[in-house]
Structures are given as structure tokens and as C-alpha cells.
Symmetry: D2
Subunit: 264 residues, 4 copies
């Protein structure tokens, strides 16, 4: 059977009859009532207690990304809940599955992009040089520039602006933010159109500057969208619109296959 | 088509080209960097800013329930992630789907049970009287007593004890906590065995005493378990044990169907 | 830890280094290339090879229920796929989560309803008598009549008509079909409006008459909708409409919360 | 809003008050009771009725891959079901989410690999030449060879052997099967160890030789595993082992974090 070899181990938590220890802390004596949920999330993820700046920006990111109206994932969750109102976990799961590579998941790909850029800058190249080379590289391959582009917000994504302003104000901006700004400076010229920096640009830039683990970037959107989806589910239980949303989608879509029913 | 009739409406959020308003608050001006994630969650859910006590106990609950070691849902998430490491959203969704009616989802059924009890108490019966009648009713139908019973913790679930102590200390205990205590007082006698109050007893009792919406109780476990699952996923990416967990489950299970392979 | 006690066993399948045995049959020698997928599904589920009539009707049900246009679950899947085109499993899972108790899952509740009715008929009451009593009971509790009602099809659901005709033609109709017909005979009068029998009436009636396990009824919709969702996903990869469906839903929904953005 | 531009269209199906047309066929007149589920799946996916050979091999693949004992996805489904027995759709979804890129999803990556090879062969290179170059390329990048490797089966995966034998016997083998055999001929030498061809080698090879759409290859595993998962769910309802599987996984895993509870 697969996975058979080697020791299996976890360093996150262990429960006994009388104790639950999480990252070495006693859950009941040291954490419940003593740390807030955001602090707990950081500790659970990294094994380290966050400093004040880390908690501040983690909260800022979770608040910035939790809700954006009737997004595809909110609609998927609401349609799913109206079909099975007794299984909220299914509706939330359906919504979370929309945190894919294209939307919401793009914090992850932008984080990778920024890390690669910063590595080159730290090795001696200038921010502008590396930004030009990497953006041109994506453009040549007709690829998206991660962290840029938004279907609605013009001329800026107000969340991106706010987060960058906070990072400068609180002294959190480091190499990743600097590189992101260099990318923003060359993007319009290279892509030949206005490239709106979206929230998934500053989010990984600032968090990476604050030593947040790169592998966990996608977790930020997943966690805060879960909160947003729960809100949509509770509203859906009181004022259902899930099937109505599906009706609107259906009514606005053409059937262009062979032989449609005669009595449409 | 279904859902066609009547107006469809949402009161949660609306985004325009330059603004995102959530429950009437401007996301960038009033929320990002000003409220923490727990406060945001309450506001998003209810439309109202929480008071200090509500934030304190919401944090306490989210911390208390986020992690409990290699639970079924953590294992389901880790198995799923090792099978598709590029899709963390799928692994988290698989784990969340384990917040069913039996475990994790029991905050919801306990909340309903407590509400029914408190309604009778408020209508004139005594806590003890109502507790006896309702617990006996469940026992007679051979049903579980929601909020009681734990496979591991003995003689108490330390989280339940801690949460009740905090509720008393902070003056948060009201009618639901009082009724829960009455239930605890009669449960052992009626079920004829030691009934350990688990964390899903005090969680709904305290939150209902603080006017948290009953329909959102299940959302508490879903949200905080999501945080826990993200931590497990990040560890799984570094030190995979998902397939190994499946191997252990397989190796410890007997095949008792017809005609097993000869070369096992 | 929970689940610790007692032996764990499965009778479905066992793989060794050289063999895979499923319900006692050798997968490679006896099944691959020898039985079709529908036969395999029945065997896997029940441990018994199906007879010709069982295969015929299982195929009929799976074909009847697999596709119904841009349903909520097809839309949820397509929105999810456009957000993460590399994770088709996530999109299909999001769609399947819509097989809840209200739609698709209603084969299950109708099956339970029919079984209860047939038990009473077999104990001596007449079909008409039991149908009247049980339908009136639901009506008095303002509950839905499972297997009846459709948002689109008028005056009949053509699938229901077809399946009942096939059952009569092939001699498959038994006690459950007879009871379903009795229910149909009294439903309009008791509910005071036209009650369209939908596909989830004949589906459980016929399958229960053919000894299909009641606990697996929900599996029928889940399996065949999975096939339908895969077709939608493949079309979505070529001609994406997922985000457009979400746009239509959003554009057709009113924001009625406080303080909307000024530049909508 | 995203997705706003351009016409939205689907060519799969359209329902009216009295008709459901799927790929132009009338569901009730032409499909229910006339075509089996596997034929329907192909028609739904491609818009074309399959020929006899296509149906035969589609059945063979669906049967070959549906079940392999207590796999990670079967265990994830069973753990999820025991936690929420009323939501089978959630348990099946949790299992399907395990059809990731590493296992089950590998039919997709192997299909892509074979297509690339066949394109080069059709452009003039020999099977052996292309196989050597492409396998060496993967080896040099320390990547897996898709369609090869199995944690249990030795010295062959019996399903792979059976499927290739059937393809030869029925005259279904074409360029993709020929290229797969060339790959098998050089794999051991280049990787320096025994490379067991698994079921996800012949599956895409044969289906691509039969003009099955490459984009739908992943759908094969998703569809047939859904059938397998339903069987596991039905057994789980009767003889639950989900939590026990989790107990086994937990008991066999070491906690190597700081400060374990003293009373383990």
C-alpha cells in the first residue's frame, strides 16, 4: 500500500484525556481567552507566536479579502445551500472549491512570482531590471501578470491601495513590497494597457515581508472567504436566492446545440 | 425554471468601481486595519458591530474548537492534499465536509435543544423541571444528548470547563448557560452513566446568551476548523503523512467478504 | 480516540500484489471486458449480479436523471471550474454537493415515503386508504409531497411518464409503483392544486420494486449527475461561461442593505 | 463584473415545459430505455453516439478503475459519512476531491504525455527514438513517468496487462498504444529500476486511440470512483468504520512537536 514507509509524524497538536496541547501550548491554560483567533491562526500555522505587526496585517488581509459581493463562490455556495439547507458544511465547501488558481488562488502565484524577483534583487540586480525582465517574460508567453488585473475596479483596486498605504505607514514594507512597486511601474508599458494592481499583489508582498510562510498564502483567501461564505449561508437560510441566481444564469444563456425543444 | 418568482436581494455587500461596502461600512475606509477578523466575522454575519464581550467569547470559541489533533476531518484533508498538492482548496473542502451532524455540527443541535429548554423556562417552568423532562425524552427515544459525550476526554472535557469558567468570570452566563448546567445536573442519573459535557455544550449556551444568531452556530466550527485544516495542509506539504494514514487504516481493517486474494 | 472499539471490516474489495477481488469476483479475469459499468455498479453496491430487468431499469434511471440543462449544480460546477481549470475534481465535487435534500436528494425521501406506505398496505390496508392518510398527514404539516412538484414541466414531467410506461411494459411494476399511483390519484384533491409527479417518484418506486437497496437511492442521482457534470466541465474548458453565469446572477439581484456605493 | 462580455452559450441540453433535449436527442423518446448509461456518457460528452468498440472500452475502463479497496479517497469518504450520515453527497464529494494530480488524476497527465509523443512520431520520428528522448527528459528533471509506478502491484499491475490484451484482441490499439509500449520498453533502463506500468498508462492510450476527447480523461476516474464511493458509503451506513480508520491513523502517527501532554 502507498505511504507505507518511513515514520509518520505531526508537530501540530496532541490531545490526551485531560489536556490538548497545540504547538506546545496548553489550549485551555494558555490560549482560550488569552489569544485572539488571528493570533491562534498564525501560531497554529508556524509554531511561533506572531508579533504585533504580523497580527495587524494578518487581520488586515483577512478583512480585505473576506467579502466581495455575489462572487462566483458565494453564488455556488448559495445554490448548494438552497438545495440542501441542512448541510451548511456542503455549501461552504462548494464555495471554497472556487478558490482556484484563477481567482482567489492568485495570491499564491503572485507570492511565488515576488519571491523569485526578490531572490534576484538580493543577488545583485536592481528592482527595475528584474521587474522589466520578468514582466516581459510573462508577456512574451502571453501569460497573466499575477496580482494585476480586475474585472470591476477602475482605475485602482481600493483594497490594494489601502494595504500598501498601511504597509508604508506601519513600517512593514520590505523587499517584496519594493519589488511589487517596481513591477507596477513597468507593467502598463510592457502590456500596452492599464494594469490595475489587485488585492492579490500587496497581500503576498506584505505578508512575505513579515515572514509569513509562502506555502500558506493560499490559506489566507480560503480562511477569510469561509467567513464570508458563512455569512452568505446564514442570509440564504432566511432569504433564499440560490435557485433564483441559477434561473438568471440559465435565462441569460443561449442554447446553440442541435434540435432545441419546440415549445421554449 | 425554479427560483424564478419574486425579487432576489442581498443585504451583505455591494462593490462598485471604486468602493466595496459591507453591511453599509466602507471596506477600505472603515474596516481594513481598523477591525480584527473576529469582529469582521460578527459584523458580516449579523450586520451589527459586536460589543467587547461578544468579541472576547467569539475568539474564545474559535480558539477552543480549531484543533484537536489528527481528527477524521484533518486526516481526510491530508489524504486529499497528498493526492493533489496543487489544490489546497480541495483538501480543505474535504475536511470541512466532515463538520456533519454527528461531530462538529453538534453545536447546532445543542443550540436548538438549549433554545427549546430556555423558551419553556422563560414561560414559567423551572430549569431543573425542564431539564429532567427533555433529557428523559431523549433517553426514552434512545437518542444522544447533544453537547454531552466525548470519546477521549475523562472525567471532563477541559475546554468545556474552561469556557464555563470564563463565562461566569466575565458575567456572560445567562439563561442558556443556566439551563445547560441544569441539564448537566440530571444527565448522569437519567442516562445511568457518566455524561461528559463536551465543548459543544458551553459553545452554543454562551453564544446564545450573547445574542449570537442560532442559525450561525454551525459556522463557528466550520470557520475555526478551516484555520486548523490550513495548518494541517501546510504541514502536509512539508512532511506528507496522508497516504501513510490511509495505509494504517487499511492495514488495520479486516476484509470479510467472499474470496480474498490468495497472495495477501 | 473515537471509533476505537470493535473490529473494523469491509466486504467490498481487497487488493493484493497480483489480484484485485471485488465482491469476491476477480476484477481482471471476471469483470473487465465482461460486465458493463451499470452491472458493475449494482454488483459493487449489493454484492449480487443484477438480473436483466435490474440492469435495464438502472440504466433507464441513470440516463433519465443525468442532465437537465443549466441546473444549479451544473452552474456551481462551471463557476468553480473557471476559477480553477486545473482541478476538475473540485468542480465536480461542488456540483455534487448540490444533490441535497431539496433537489436530487428527493429520490431518497420519496423512497422512504413509499416504503412506509407499502409496509402498511402489505399489513392489510388498501393503497387508496394509506395514500389518503399519508398525503393528508404531510399536507396538514404543510410539508412537501416527495416525488411531486416541478418548477418547469407542465402538465407532466415527461421522464416520470416514460419511466412508469416502461415499468408497466416490462412487467417491473410492483407494490411500490402501485402505491405511487395511488398517491398520484389523491394528491391534487388533498393539496388543492395540480401536483405534477416528477422523476423522483417513479425512480424509487420502480427500483424498490426491483429490490434495489433503499439506502443507495441517493447514489443514483449522485452517480448520473457526476456524468452530466463531467460533460459540463469539458464544455466549460472549451467555451467558458462560469463567470458569465455569476455576472448574470449578480446583475439580476438587488442590494437592499444600508449605504450602497454611490458610483454603482 | 467578471465574465460580462461576449455571448454565453451551451450546446449540451435544453429543457422546455414538455421536452428535454440532450445533444439534440429527445431524452424520453430516444434515450431512456434505449441507450445504456455508458453510451449516454459518451454522447453527452462528445455530442456523438459511440461505436461498439468505444462503448466496450469505455465500460472496460470504468470497471477497471472504480474500486481498489480502502484507498485514501474511500477512507476520506467513509470518515466524512460517519460524521454526517444524512449527507451522502458530502461524503462522495470528499472522496472525489482525492482524484488529484498525483493519483487517479494521472490518466490526464499520461494522456498529455502520450499525445505529445504521438505527435512527434506522426511527424516522422520513430516510437523508440521519441520514447527514449521524452523518458530521459523526465528522468533528467527528476520527474515521475506518468502511467508508471504502483505502490502495491508487482511485477505488473494486472489491470494494465488486461486492458492492453483486450486492446490488441479487439483491434483497438493504435498509435498511442504503440507509443506507450515503446515507453515501457525503455523505462526500466532509463530510470534504473523496475517501472511497473499502472492502469493509467493503457487507459489514456486506448481511449485516445478510440478518439475519446483528451480533456475528458480525468472524467473517467471521477465517474467510476463515484460509483465505488457510493458503494463504500452504503456499506458505511450499515457497518461504520470511518472513525475507526481515523483512530488507526492517529494511533500510528507520532507527535514530535514540543511539550506533549503528560498523560498520554
Amino acid at each position: 500500500m502507498m505511504g507505507a514507509k518511513g515514520a509518520g509524524a505531526t508537530a501540530i497538536a496532541k490531545a490526551s484525556r485531560t489536556k490538548i496541547r497545540i504547538r506546545g501550548h496548553d489550549l485551555c491554560d494558555d490560549l482560550i481567552g488569552k489569544v485572539d483567533f488571528t493570533t491562534f491562526f498564525f501560531l497554529h500555522l508556524t509554531g511561533e507566536m506572531p508579533n504585533e505587526k504580523q497580527v495587524f496585517f494578518l487581520n488586515a488581509m483577512l478583512v480585505a479579502l473576506a467579502e466581495h459581493g455575489l462572487t462566483p463562490s458565494a453564488q455556488a455556495a448559495r445554490m448548494t445551500l438552497q438545495a440542501g439547507p441542512d448541510a451548511m458544511q456542503g455549501a461552504v465547501a462548494a464555495g471554497i472549491l472556487g478558490c482556484g488558481s484563477v481567482i482567489l488562488g492568485s495570491a499564491e502565484s503572485c507570492g511565488r512570482f515576488l519571491s523569485q524577483g526578490v531572490a534576484r534583487v538580493r543577488a545583485g540586480e536592481s528592482n527595475d531590471e528584474v521587474a522589466r525582465a520578468m514582466v516581459q517574460g510573462l508577456r512574451d508567453q502571453k501569460k497573466f501578470l499575477p496580482g494585476f488585473g480586475h474585472p470591476l475596479h477602475r482605475p485602482v483596486d481600493p483594497r490594494a491601495v489601502k494595504l500598501l498605504a498601511l504597509a508604508d505607514e506601519k513600517g512593514a514594507s520590505g523587499d517584496h513590497v519594493a519589488f511589487l512597486k517596481a513591477v507596477a511601474g513597468v507593467a502598463d508599458g510592457i502590456y500596452g494597457r492599464e494594469m490595475v494592481m489587485n488585492v492579490n499583489g500587496p497581500l503576498p508582498a506584505i505578508l512575505l515581508d513579515l515572514d509569513f510562510p509562502e506555502a500558506a498564502l493560499k490559506g489566507i483567501s480560503i480562511l477569510c472567504r469561509t467567513a464570508g461564505l458563512i455569512g452568505h449561508c446564514v442570509e440564504e437560510l432566511e432569504r433564499p436566492i440560490g435557485f433564483r441566481l441559477a434561473h438568471l444564469g440559465d435565462a441569460g444563456t443561449v442554447y446553440d446545440g442541435p434540435n432545441p425543444p419546440e415549445d421554449l
